[in-house]
């Protein structure tokens, strides 16, 4: 406790014409917290996240990420966050090493640091045998672990994960969550966007968006007892179906 807020959002709103995709949402996320950002398809999750990572300007309201304002300091935000999505992760036709070098370069790391980080990452993930193989030839679970580590190369304050473990086998998925816990334990904030309700059970706190608004925000445990159900899926169903 007493940790500082790494994400602060106040009445954040985004409209497209007369459609309000994100309708005055407010929340804070602390340093080292694993925060689940849930909602149905079309609830406004992606639009909200785009504002937080500095690629979409809000219509109104305020937000800061890693201490930087989403209106004026979007470049600073991008330097201080990591982003990983299931859809886009790594370049399949580059090797593991080439991917690390490439993303290290994108994040503005110097060559010696990239070299050092490459060795570290390959050792930590036990990738010695496949370091020079094309990423496209690796199993999905490995790709996800590499892409997670790559998104952390520049020691961001916050990492945004978009449906990080959808489709992977249950064992790999748990190894992945262990990596997330480790990262959070080291002080990095983890922001998970997902509509897989079982992913949300792993988060410290979750918010649930319905039609552009945050309709619930609490720990999974409290939400389950508040709605008197046994899992987050049922919490979601109760909220979304009204």
């Amino acid at each position: 406790m007493g940790k500082q807020n790494v994400i602060e959002v106040e009445n954040l709103t985004k409209s497209f014409g007369d459609f309000t995709a994100v309708d005055s949402i407010s929340f804070e996320v602390k340093q080292g917290e694993i925060f689940g950002f849930l909602g149905a398809n079309g609830a406004g999750k992606t639009t909200a996240m785009k504002m937080l990572i500095g690629i979409s300007k809000p219509t109104s309201g305020n937000a800061s990420v890693a201490g930087f304002d989403v209106y004026h300091h979007t470049e600073d935000i991008k330097k201080n966050i990591g982003y990983m999505s299931q859809k886009f992760a790594l370049y399949d036709d580059l090797t593991v090493k080439e991917n690390i070098t490439f993303f290290g370069g994108i994040y503005g790391l110097s060559r010696p640091i990239i070299k050092e980080k490459t060795i570290e990452l390959i050792e930590e993930l036990n990738l010695g045998d496949v370091a020079n193989q094309l990423v496209g030839s690796l199993p999905l679970g490995w790709k996800q672990k590499i892409s997670f580590s790559v998104a952390l190369l520049h020691n961001p304050k916050v990492i945004f994960l978009d449906e990080p473990t959808g489709g992977v086998d249950p064992i790999t998925r748990r190894q992945f969550w262990e990596m997330i816990y480790k990262t959070a334990n080291e002080g990095t904030t983890v922001f998970v966007t997902t509509h897989y309700m079982d992913e949300s059970e792993y988060c410290d706190r979750v918010s649930i968006m319905v039609d552009g608004k945050i309709e619930a925000l609490d720990t999974p445990k409290n939400l389950k007892s508040q709605f008197n159900v046994s899992n987050m899926n049922d919490v979601f169903l109760k909220l979304a179906r009204g």
Partner: protein
């Protein structure tokens, strides 16, 4: 028999996609193929829908052989592939009548079968498929797969990428179709959907790990599982893995699922161990094995 699969194997270059797969789906059964991406689910669907030929083994669908009677199979099955495969620039209505025409029938002839589902998307019948939401696309794809009144319906990950509300509605639709006598083979990476099937096969790396009813399959788990909680999840996992008697340690949402090597396991002993490691608010409670626990145990 709805579907009969015997010793099917398939490889692509140096990848063994399916190894010696055998199972039966009874007439009118809702059978689930549960496994992660890359398990071989789609390859199996493609073999059963006659789009791909197996290297070894044989299979029948609606009593037709997948090699010798492939044309009969195509007339008698519906296939909803995992990737949305309708015509994006045709409207809802146009897609449906297109598929009806291809199969030599009309929308009116089999309207009764799709009515329940179609009325939900009918308000958007003039909209192009590409402009539909995920849930609506899925309903349209199901209507198109049903329009020729198939005996067997193949659904390859129909609920992947769809939110919980649409998922639930989709499964309710499948249950209603089942009552109309349609045999269904449905694949999913969601372990929680397994409970909605009559029987399931757990599949990973091209091999079937186990086949049974969802109720029975969890009974195969050999140990007692305990939910463990403490104030620091990361340290909790590390210390549990270091505990000398641990049999398995897996994070499971807000808990860690722990099982012990020994039969006479004392909750208090583990609690004391975790407390000496500095963990606080340790809670340990017995819990029931889930399909995921069983899956991980078999896949180990």
């Amino acid at each position: 028999m709805g579907i009969q699969v015997q010793h099917i194997s398939k490889s692509f270059k140096n990848v063994q996609a399916l190894s010696d797969i055998s199972f039966d789906v009874k007439n009118g059964e809702l059978f689930g193929l549960i496994g992660p991406d890359g398990a071989g689910k789609t390859t199996l669907f493609r073999i059963l829908t006659t789009l791909l030929i197996a290297n070894e083994g044989s299979a029948t669908v609606a009593a037709f052989d997948v090699i010798n009677n492939y044309k009969d199979i195509r007339k008698n099955v519906g296939y909803m592939p995992s990737k949305f495969s309708l015509y994006q620039d045709l409207t809802v209505e146009e897609n449906l009548s297109f598929f009806a025409t291809i199969f030599g029938t009309t929308v009116e002839e089999n309207y009764e079968l799709i009515k329940d589902i179609y009325i939900q998307i009918e308000p958007f019948k003039g909209r192009r498929a590409k402009d539909l939401s995920g849930g609506m696309k899925q309903k349209l794809a199901l209507c198109c797969a049903l329009i020729h009144k198939p005996k067997v319906l193949f659904l390859d990950e129909p609920t992947t990428g769809v939110d919980p509300v649409s998922r639930k509605e989709f499964w309710e639709m499948l249950k209603r179709l089942q009552q109309k006598g349609i045999t269904m083979l449905v694949s999913t990476p969601y372990m929680d959907e397994a409970a909605l099937c009559d029987r399931i096969a757990l599949i990973q790396d091209g091999k079937i790990l186990q086949i049974d009813t969802p109720q029975e399959i969890v009974k195969h788990y050999p140990k007692t599982i305990f939910n463990v909680q403490a104030d620091n999840m990361y340290q909790l996992i590390i210390y549990l893995k270091e505990f000398e008697y641990q049999y398995s340690v897996y994070p499971f949402g807000e808990f860690v699922h722990y099982s012990d090597h020994r039969n006479g396991f004392e909750i208090n002993e583990l609690k004391a161990y975790l407390e000496t490691k500095g963990l606080k608010n340790v809670i340990i409670q017995k819990t029931a094995a889930t399909i995921e626990d069983t899956f991980m145990e078999l896949a180990k």
